[in-house]
Symmetry: C2
Subunit: 554 residues, 2 copies
């Protein structure tokens, strides 16, 4: 490719560095931008009431005409969950593998933008060319089939993003990592590598999905009652192994949970999940078969309160519940923050009398550990290295690994979202930062909840609210009615009558004092009431409820 | 001992079964009650704004005159944190080991009840006799020194509670588990054993604290800058090993964090922590020494927002902060629910440029794993077995272990708090349940926050609150002023003016309709406004803020 003078290659993340989730990486050369992945993230514990978090794409919206396409590496929510929002604002073609396109279609249909979107199916042989940039793909192994890594050829050299990967040497679908393609890229010369840091602080190799298959076989050979198997709906390989075991042991498979039904249907139609149609059992029919001929495939391996497994455990599912003698398999590791939810579901299942199998025996991660990250680095032999897809400590651990295999410490960039790496004449340095941030989604609202609203929710969640209503005489300034105190989330009203009576008197006194002092501005009246009451309540209870004085005139 | 006719031995928990925390076990024979441990628990994620949770002791308060004493096994908060509250209501003598008494004293002093409490120091040779019951103690190893198991001799036989334990074969203070005493109890015959289930789902043996000492030695030999060491303040053995390493490597020790100062002071005074006084460094003096001569011992290994380590990481500590080149050791495992907090602190420390050492290399649990639990069962050879101190799944795993070593399945009791095991003529069966529950502490309030308040806090935390104020004419029923809408924690007011304007109009229309329909009762007016607004807002935003209509007359 020709080198164009005064043009800069820049690489940055709008999501996915310093965090797990909302992956979005950007490669820009001059006036041409390619975006890789458009994910969502689940809210932190502090983001009260928030449903989802997506990247702030205002930089891309300001440079809309430069954006030529979105490349998607695989079908997990942290890589596709923000795509509808992105396309509503920036309508460009999407490039993804067959299964990934299948999963994306459902989302775009729900958002009402499927017909307006151009979707291109790509595979490891595809090449997509733009003015300066040229994208190609290579097969990786991960916990969802049809995962790809991306190579973007630029006038400066190759920029490679691994996507999420591990090196599963015995993958269920026999489509192993494309070592040849990766080492070819390495031989041709990789300018910059962006690689998955999720397990960079885990030594050794991540286990193969095949090992989970072995464990599934043991479960099936021991279970005498029904088997209820909960895992991520997108883990098609694992679900394939459940279907295979069911066929082998003469059990029928009932599928419960919206996303499990949806994903298995798409994967089956597209040929990624293979089973004879007569192995399926409608959930309504579960009662009609002997217990040792049933498998129930369910969502809920993260203890989600509304998931199929949780509702079954609470006997709140219409079609299925858990019975004594069932064997329940929870084939996942709790995502940090979900440990207590998962623990509670397991406890509940044991209480019902089910046997529960959980933990590392029946789950492997989809992300490579340290030895696999080294292998990727040795295959790619990049000049520059940018660890991505991880909290800062994971990216830092990944940077150390890169140093160990010989990347120069000065050639490793630990970025924040928005930080750019600028490359001119194959020489990289950290450039300025573009605007990056997070957009909170709460119900239908996109971005209408921000720090002030969250701060109020936090205050309200800790100590509740007191509303004080009082009507003053327009003429004399004296109290005509009230003060009335309404409290929510503060104390039991019945058990705290005395406290609220005293608070009431205090408000009257404060207003009388204001009247005597000729304080008449409402803002002063309100702040006097708020301060006096706040002090009193903190003294009495060591709590700081939100206080909302409402002063009316009549 | 003589057998007394028609008398029943009953054993139950008021806290500690089906949960981790607020341990309180009760042994009652006829009119005599002994209580073992009085702990607290940290609130679940759903208990918004709650500081602490303690056992509901109303059963004991109803039978106050029968309660003869409280035996405390060791000085951890989940065993002593509810003691002040207990003693304020039931003032009986307390029996505990020397260090445990030292730690209890501080709590009772703070609660203003130290002078009114009788504290007895006991050790593994003590025997305490009541009318029917006789208590003795045996030494165990755990993550705090001076931990005891308890044997209560009853006319029916021996009831043994292990307390928290592991079998550390190389304990730091050389006071190993008292195998002789335990096997003697087993030989004399144990009627019922209550044993710690915390690690019942962990195979093998728990590592020795000695291994952590080895890891501490490696940290000290590699570190070239300051060492900041964060662990639980009560882990005196680990702290001893830090002091020992400091002495060996010529470093001074500065102690920061209230509980770290407090506990090390008590432990040093009582001889459980040994160091030369001149090894101590005042935090103010840290700046004056070369970096390679400093160790800072700090609280905050759980990522607690206000702890010393967290404040140091945010440069919000008055006397110390973290600098590039520091080695920070986080010597603990996150308690479920704290993973994200701990992760955030580690990230922050790495960003500052510190090296951070965390994870299983530098921490071992204080609780025995499966092989240790089997050993305890084989030493004690109990007729009846009650797994305690654990979530249900851990107790269930412990029950299986007991079956494996030969306890009859019918002789194992999986209890809920309050469930009694009644024993007559050495024959045990599950009896009725006594009242048990939890008391929530919020600020100074003990039990004044209950389900309604928590439900309101949850609603408020998710979608905030809307207060609608409107004044109606007393005579005509028409709107005199308002409606005014005040929103907190719902939406950004500035960006949602249109929505709030429409809501305003809707309230006016609803009230006009009520007026036309001759609806005059305030409760109906309010519920009409609430319903109409709730529907409208859910339609527009998919959120359900709390709606508080305030209707005034003038």
């Amino acid at each position: 490719m020709l080198k164009h003078d005064n043009k800069v290659l820049s690489i940055f993340a709008l999501g996915g560095v310093g965090e797990i989730g909302k992956n979005m990486y950007v490669v820009q050369y001059d006036n041409e931008i390619l975006v890789i992945d458009a994910g969502l993230k689940f809210p932190d514990a502090g983001m009260l009431g928030i449903d989802l978090v997506i990247p702030d794409i205002s930089y891309l919206m300001e440079h809309k005409e430069k954006v030529k396409g979105v490349l998607i590496t695989h079908g997990h929510e942290d890589h596709i969950g923000g795509l509808s929002y992105f396309l509503k604002n920036i309508n460009v073609p999407v490039y993804a593998s067959k299964l990934t396109v299948g999963l994306i279609k459902g989302k775009l249909r729900e958002a009402g933008i499927l017909r307006n979107t151009t979707l291109h199916v790509v595979d490891s042989h595809s090449k997509v060319s733009f003015q300066y940039l040229k994208a190609s793909f290579f097969r990786t192994t991960h916990s969802i089939p049809d995962s790809l890594g991306v190579c973007i050829d630029t006038p400066e050299g190759k920029v490679v993003y691994t996507g999420d990967f591990k090196f599963d040497q015995t993958p269920v679908d026999r489509n192993s990592s494309d070592f040849a393609a990766m080492s070819r890229l390495g031989d041709e010369g990789v300018l910059a590598l962006l690689s998955d840091s999720t397990n960079a602080d885990k030594p050794g190799f991540t286990g193969s999905e095949w090992e989970v298959g072995q464990a599934i076989g043991r479960v099936f050979s021991h279970a005498t009652g029904r088997i209820i198997f909960a895992t991520f709906a997108s883990n098609i390989h694992r679900i394939q192994q459940v279907f295979d075991a069911a066929a082998r042991f003469g059990r029928k498979v009932a599928i419960v949970g919206k996303s499990m039904k949806n994903v298995t249907k798409i994967a089956h139609e597209l040929g990624y999940l293979q089973f004879e149609n007569d192995i399926l059992l409608e959930p309504e029919e579960i009662q009609r078969l002997p217990v040792d001929q049933i498998v129930i495939l369910a969502t809920g391996s993260q203890g989600e309160p509304m998931s199929a497994l949780n509702r079954m455990a609470r006997s709140a599912h219409r079609k299925a519940d858990v019975m004594p003698g069932d064997t329940v398999v929870i084939a996942s590791t709790p995502i940090p923050g979900n440990e207590r939810h998962v623990g509670r579901v397991i406890d509940q299942l044991f209480r019902i009398g089910a046997d529960v199998i959980y933990g590392p025996d029946i789950h492997v991660s989809g992300h490579g550990s340290q030895e696999e990250l080294k292998l990727m680095l040795n295959l790619m032999k990049p000049k520059y290295f940018i660890p991505v897809h991880g909290e800062f400590r994971m990216m830092r651990a990944h940077a150390r690994i890169a140093e160990q295999v010989g990347v120069l410490p000065g050639n490793i960039f630990l970025l924040n979202n928005g930080d750019t790496v600028e490359i001119v004449d194959q020489d990289a340095r950290q450039g300025g930062a573009v605007h990056a941030g997070q957009v909170l989604i709460d119900g239908l609202g996109v971005g209408d909840v921000g720090n002030i609203v969250l701060r109020d929710r936090k205050l309200l969640s800790e100590d509740g609210i007191l509303v004080i209503v009082v009507t003053l005489c327009r003429r004399t300034g004296k109290i005509l009615s009230g003060p009335n105190i309404i409290s929510r989330g503060f104390v039991y009203v019945r058990e705290s009558e005395e406290l609220l009576d005293e608070a009431n008197q205090l408000v009257s006194q404060t207003l009388a004092q204001c009247h005597a002092d000729q304080v008449k501005e409402w803002s002063s009246l309100k702040s006097n009431v708020r301060d006096a009451l706040s002090r009193f309540l903190y003294d009495q209870t060591r709590r700081r409820p939100m206080i909302l004085p409402i002063i009316m005139e009549a």
